[in-house]
Symmetry: C2
Subunit: 162 residues, 2 copies
């Protein structure tokens, strides 16, 4: 991103510091998730929904605004599961064009980096519409399971047939 490509909140210390700062923050608090939901609208019977999100208590919402301003995409909304706010990017074009390049240039330094790499692969497969084929869907399903191992996802419990 260039110097003037987004509005810099007043509390930014220096432009050049933000790139890595946000990667560090996301390494701790960010979530690269691929969820699957049954869908009659989709020919294959399932909707695949990758998302990048960060949740925070309301008193720390300024950090979420920082992400939204920096990435120039995503939404901030109350998380229905608790009393936090969630910054989330779901649109596949925004994920591929804004989110992935950032974390490829400024990688996570924990093991979460491996999750990110698999997440990036899923996003790019979807962008190329590979998720609409049986083979592509099965591959995405396999990657999604490896990303979301700790989650209590419905599609991890049941056998998905397409």
């Amino acid at each position: 991103m260039t110097e003037d490509s987004y509005n810099m909140p007043e509390f930014f210390p220096e432009k050049q510091d933000i790139d890595q700062y946000l990667s560090g923050y996301a390494d701790g608090e960010g979530c690269f998730c691929v969820s699957l939901n049954k869908s009659k609208r989709h020919k294959i019977g399932w909707e695949i929904r990758p998302s990048f999100s960060i949740s925070q208590n309301r008193d720390r919402a300024s950090v979420l605004e920082l992400f939204k301003t920096y990435f120039r995409c995503g939404t901030i909304r109350p998380d229905r599961s608790d009393y936090t706010l969630k910054y989330e990017v779901r649109a596949i074009d925004e994920l591929v064009e804004n989110i992935l390049p950032h974390f490829e240039k400024y990688p996570l330094l924990s093991s979460k980096q491996h999750e990110f790499e698999r997440f990036a692969e899923v996003c790019r497969m979807i962008r190329c519409r590979k998720h609409l084929t049986k083979d592509g869907f099965q591959k995405i399903l396999s990657i999604a399971k490896s990303i979301n191992r700790s989650g209590n996802k419905k599609y991890l419990r049941e056998k998905i047939k397409i």
Copy 2:
């Protein structure tokens, strides 16, 4: 810190990126805490213990090693309260000489920054042995309460008399 003042783990992308990365990570996951414990060893009857800590699941311990290597102080140990590992710096000299200057040069960008500033004040008061006077102790107690509001600390529930 200078370029060669610590051993750089292999997975560091570039030296200049780490400073802000760690601040970003700590903004999300770090804790600047001041705890008070009854103590017969201390004339005033209480031990004041400031600490900087970060907890993580065991599979992400590499980030804790990153902090320990970078700051050249602190310990990593199992957290008794759960199944995580905790990186912690308690020694007042290390807090004042290694931790505070870093976060003053590369500040947190969330409201946690205010907690850090109060934490820094407590650390420097202790370094100057002001905690040994009644006035100093009361001031630290007041600051500690404002930092640890969300915690379930014993000294927040009971009235401390000195």
